[in-house]
Subunit: 278 residues, 2 copies
């Protein structure tokens, strides 16, 4: 890798490394960079910013442009977003009443309990935050939707684990050792199994500083007709404000929210009816 010494003091700008495991995802990552800009940009600058070779980037932009996703300022050779992309964004947000509904349930849960709440799903071998509403309190943990946490040390994760068959659970956990994130993280498989059993009995799970020091979390499953749900609601708060005891007091509110979410879920599947909503 290290060739002859380069006299150049080297790349000053951040690498950024558009990482796409596949060409398409690479293009999406590119669009995300584009979407984050509030100014037009040139091929060159983008190439430097993303580390994509010029010819490659050129072809990508060309492709996006001829599809109407990007537009370019004929005069200067600068690119910006195209109508088609904007329309896509508009429609996406406009039609996603489903997500909107979930979000408002979450918001009213936060109003009720006064602490940050989130919606989670199992994605691969990790728990993913689907949505999150922050507490109004000034002391908060900053966790945003889209981020992921391990199953074995999160309340939601344990809830999901409890819903699995032992075989499924084993397959998921066998992959990697249980990493310790704090002194309280359960890193022993048997101990975890024991806790899972308890979660099953109780219908909720706790994470008492097992992932982040000072963070307590309670989660319950959003029930689904079918039994196998991939959705949890959880409350998260600094231990300073929320003790395990107090957390139990929030369970009724959590369950109410879970039921509301469940109802949304039930109504969300597409019916066979293809009548356009006139």
């Amino acid at each position: 890798m290290i060739g002859p010494m380069k006299s150049v003091p080297a790349p000053v700008q951040a690498p950024l490394e558009i990482n796409g495991d596949t060409p398409t995802l690479r293009l999406f990552a590119l669009l995300e960079v584009v979407a984050s800009k509030d100014q037009f940009f040139s091929l060159q600058s983008l190439s430097e910013e993303t580390n994509i070779p010029k010819p490659t980037l050129h072809r990508m932009l060309q492709q996006l442009e001829s599809a109407g996703l990007l537009e370019r300022n004929g005069d200067n050779r600068q690119y910006g977003t195209g109508v088609r992309l904007r329309k896509l964004a508009e429609n996406l947000l406009l039609n996603d009443t489903f997500h909107g509904a979930r979000h408002s349930v979450l918001r009213s849960l936060v109003n009720e309990v006064g602490e940050s709440c989130n919606l989670t799903a199992l994605s691969g071998s990790e728990v993913m935050y689907l949505d999150r509403v922050e507490t109004p309190a000034p002391l908060r943990f900053y966790l945003h939707s889209g981020s992921r946490v391990p199953v074995h040390c999160s309340a939601s994760g344990k809830v999901f684990l409890a819903g699995m068959t032992p075989a499924q659970r084993q397959r998921l956990l066998a992959h990697a050792p249980l990493e310790a994130f704090t002194p309280k993280t359960v890193t022993n498989l048997d101990a975890l199994e024991e806790e899972i059993k308890q979660v099953k009995r109780q219908g909720f799970a706790l994470d008492n500083e097992e992932f982040l020091p000072g963070l307590l979390c309670v989660a319950v499953l959003v029930p689904s007709a079918n039994g196998r749900s991939n959705l949890c609601v959880a409350v998260q708060a600094p231990v300073m404000r929320l003790t395990p005891d107090k957390a139990l007091g929030l369970l009724p509110a959590l369950h109410r929210a879970a039921d509301a979410l469940s109802r949304i879920e039930r109504d969300s599947a597409a019916p066979l009816d293809d009548r356009e909503s006139a």
Copy 2:
């Protein structure tokens, strides 16, 4: 292709034929279909709708899901939009507004009416401020672009609600109580429905101190050629300066601005001088 006459009227919708000259564009076209849906969908149904073979579609969806662009309902095997895609859409709309024309339309509207104006879009269960130009008057409400307000107590929100089908509206509103922000907030669903009807008839919506005490707001939709729009223009002012009566007087100016904004979108779609044949 055309077999014996089918007795069933059957496939009511067009084949749709996702046309991508290149795999990536095909994926975009797929996302556009997804973005136009307000419900979750199954692999099967989407395969029928788009004419993409099941294995191919399966891979595409899988790819999009593992990238966080789509999400799926574990219990039902159904797909919907993912956090990452929604985030992309939001950023896109947010950063796009400073670009030229839109902002200046807003500025000249402010010049005309003398009060702060803003551009808004629906995102989830909330209305997002895309852009804002402040009144020159010293007494102002501090609201900046990027901030969000609930749908049920904002003028723009009501306009968006009025554009939805009853089912969509219900999904968005029915599962959480309508929070009261001021004594004037409409917190009753039926009352809100009634007002929505009126908004539909009148073509504009008012927010008379329903979100912030002392703040009055009028909003109209920015019309769009193809389908529904996710863009509103609104005037906001302290009740001290703007009464509901006076607000009606601003409607012509508002509509003119809305039309101008609408034209901007339409025109940027125009030029077809490409050597492109297909």
